[in-house]
């Protein structure tokens, strides 16, 4: 028992630095360019990101009031405009508004410009927050007389040509696959859920209570694939419903619910409280996780075809990210599964650590 408590403490201390679930940092930039060379844009930047960059001096409970935002308007506009350059145009800030995407506050910066450069030669360079958070992504929607295109801007891909014929559909899908991978890789709460399922993946509940090890690695891999596919199908359903606006549940409900799914899965590893078939569990909880993913694509306001491509690519990317974590963990768990220490000590210790993290996130998110 003492060793068990020690292991939980050690694991919690080691991962203590990650106790905050890293919420993906995204901004939404929509630029419309007319044939007359007039450009108008809207940039939605999360208030928490702006606070990290320019300091909004929020209330002790984290709330940012309209007065606070207005008092920092010059600093916000100066910071944002210094991080966006559009060659041949000189964007000037126009309005500052506030909007909410899935319950998260965003400052909405509207800007205008008259472009002198020839159509197709306007180059956009995006550099928001990359110095503070390299995992930040800018989701760009470009509306030009030749059509509408979307892009995902990252430190490695921070420049695009506005008005040039859009990249191929394959390029666009590939970018959203990459965005899906990025999104899941920094979404530590989703990853922890997958990790909790992996702790007992090479076992089956023979009598409904006790875990029995599976003998063959191939069988274990098939089980893992079943679990992850069920999880992906489920979150694809709710993600699509969320992005299409059919279901709109604010993040103050979804985020704590995600933490609860981790807590329940962790408890189930030690005491059976959920159905014995693990992929059923993954499917049920995947519906909740999908609603959390919906915040990523919803505000882009893409046309139906673009949205379909973005959704498809994003889901594939999320699946790849989950698969990467599962493949990383499953070999370790398979090798140690036959050691009695693993089932008797490590499964409870690891599950308890995951439970502690999830309860911390739960209380943190409930407070918000």
């Amino acid at each position: 028992m003492r060793l068990y408590v020690l292991l939980v403490c050690l694991a919690t201390a080691v991962a203590g630095g990650a106790a905050h679930a890293h919420l993906a940092s995204d901004s939404y930039l929509r630029i419309e360019l007319g044939e007359d060379g007039k450009l108008s844009g809207q940039w939605d930047i999360a208030l928490r990101d702006l606070d990290a960059a320019v300091g909004l001096h929020p209330e002790p409970d984290g709330q940012v009031t309209w007065g606070m935002l207005k008092s920092r308007r010059d600093a916000i506009e100066a910071y944002a405009m210094s991080r966006l350059s559009i060659a041949g145009c000189a964007p000037q800030p126009d309005e500052l508004l506030v909007d909410y995407h899935a319950g998260i506050g965003y400052a909405v910066l509207r800007f205008k410009a008259a472009c002198t450069a020839a159509f197709g030669l306007i180059r956009l360079k995006y550099n928001l927050l990359f110095d503070l958070d390299p995992s930040h992504r800018g989701l760009l929607t470009l509306v030009t007389p030749s059509g509408e295109q979307s892009d995902v801007l990252s430190p490695e891909h921070s420049e695009v040509n506005i008005g040039r014929s859009p990249g191929t559909t394959t390029d666009e899908i590939a970018r959203f696959v990459g965005f899906g991978v990025d999104h899941i890789l920094v979404g530590y709460d989703h990853l922890l859920f997958v990790a909790v399922l992996m702790i007992v993946a090479p076992f089956r509940r023979a009598d409904g209570v006790n875990w029995l090890p599976l003998d063959r690695f191939g069988t274990v891999l098939i089980e893992v694939l079943k679990i992850l596919t069920a999880f992906t199908i489920a979150h694809t359903v709710t993600l699509s419903l969320g992005v299409l606006g059919i279901v709109d549940i604010p993040s103050r409900i979804v985020d704590p619910a995600v933490a609860i799914t981790i807590m329940l899965a962790a408890v189930d590893n030690v005491r059976p409280i959920l159905p014995n078939i693990r992929w059923n569990v993954a499917f049920g909880f995947g519906l909740v996780h999908g609603l959390a993913f919906a915040t990523a694509l919803g505000p882009m306001r893409l046309p139906p075809l673009g949205l379909m491509l973005a959704l498809g690519g994003f889901n594939v990317g999320v699946e790849f990210g989950q698969l990467a974590l599962a493949l990383l963990l499953i070999s370790i768990v398979f090798v140690v599964q036959r050691d009695r220490v693993y089932l008797q000590l490590l499964v409870p210790a690891l599950s308890a650590t995951a439970f502690l993290f999830a309860s911390f996130w739960f209380s943190q998110r409930l407070g918000h």
Binding site: A18, D182, V335
Partner: protein, 222 residues
């Protein structure tokens, strides 16, 4: 009868000496080459994936580190007595402590030489299917874990050091685990053992080549 026993005793003694010699050579090589000072190189291409995945990718994209881990897995997989879970546990904890502890202490050293030397030693030992006792094997696994952990300290991000270390140690343990799973059927199949030993000889040869080139570079630049 008496002669048979003496012969068996002599054989056991020779085998034990062989265990000690090989284990001592590998361990001493790791320690000696790790103490050679050199230029530390940083690359932060993985930072945009977050600290955890940055740690994972630092191991999975370094050929010398993969070579060490696969060499170790083949060596452990060819032993008569398998201690797979202990090896995985030891390498996981030691690489975690190597990266996390090394980062906290501000450890900086060029790992190319010790890693290639270790790769060479493990590759040769596995190719020769040297029998090593469980304790020595665990010590070698722990040293390899600590070395790989410490080797990546230079690339750890200034924040979330332990998350970086966690990703690195999981990737390290996972690579060894795949190697051990792969070699699980080797003892019963002669052709499989031979192919693993051939693979180990390639690891050893690559290690020797990298080691020689790195030594020449260090000698030239002081």
């Amino acid at each position: 009868m008496q002669n048979n026993r003496e012969a068996r005793d002599q054989s056991t003694c020779r085998t034990t000496l062989s265990h000690l010699r090989w284990s001592a050579i590998v361990l001493t090589s790791i320690v000696l080459t790790a103490s050679v000072p050199g230029r530390a190189e940083a690359h932060t291409a993985f930072d945009s994936l977050g600290s955890f995945w940055s740690g994972v990718l630092h191991v999975l994209t370094a050929v010398d580190q993969l070579g060490v881990l696969l060499g170790l897995a083949i060596l452990a997989g060819l032993q008569r007595r398998r201690i797979d879970s202990s090896i995985v546990g030891a390498i996981l904890i030691c690489s975690l402590l190597g990266a996390g502890g090394g980062g906290m202490l501000g450890l900086r050293f060029n790992a190319a030489l010790p890693l290639s030397a270790t790769m060479f030693m493990l590759g040769v030992a596995a190719a020769a299917a040297v029998r090593i006792g469980a304790v020595w094997l665990l010590m070698i696994a722990s040293s390899c874990g600590a070395l790989i952990g410490a080797a990546n300290v230079v690339d750890s991000p200034p924040f979330q050091l332990w998350l970086f270390a966690l990703g690195l140690s999981i990737a390290t343990a996972s690579t060894v685990s795949y190697g051990l799973i792969g070699t699980a059927h080797a003892p019963g199949r002669e052709w499989l053992s031979i192919s693993f030993r051939v693979g180990a000889s390639w690891i050893g040869a690559t290690g020797l080549m990298v080691c020689a080139l790195e030594y020449a570079r260090l000698a030239r630049h002081g």
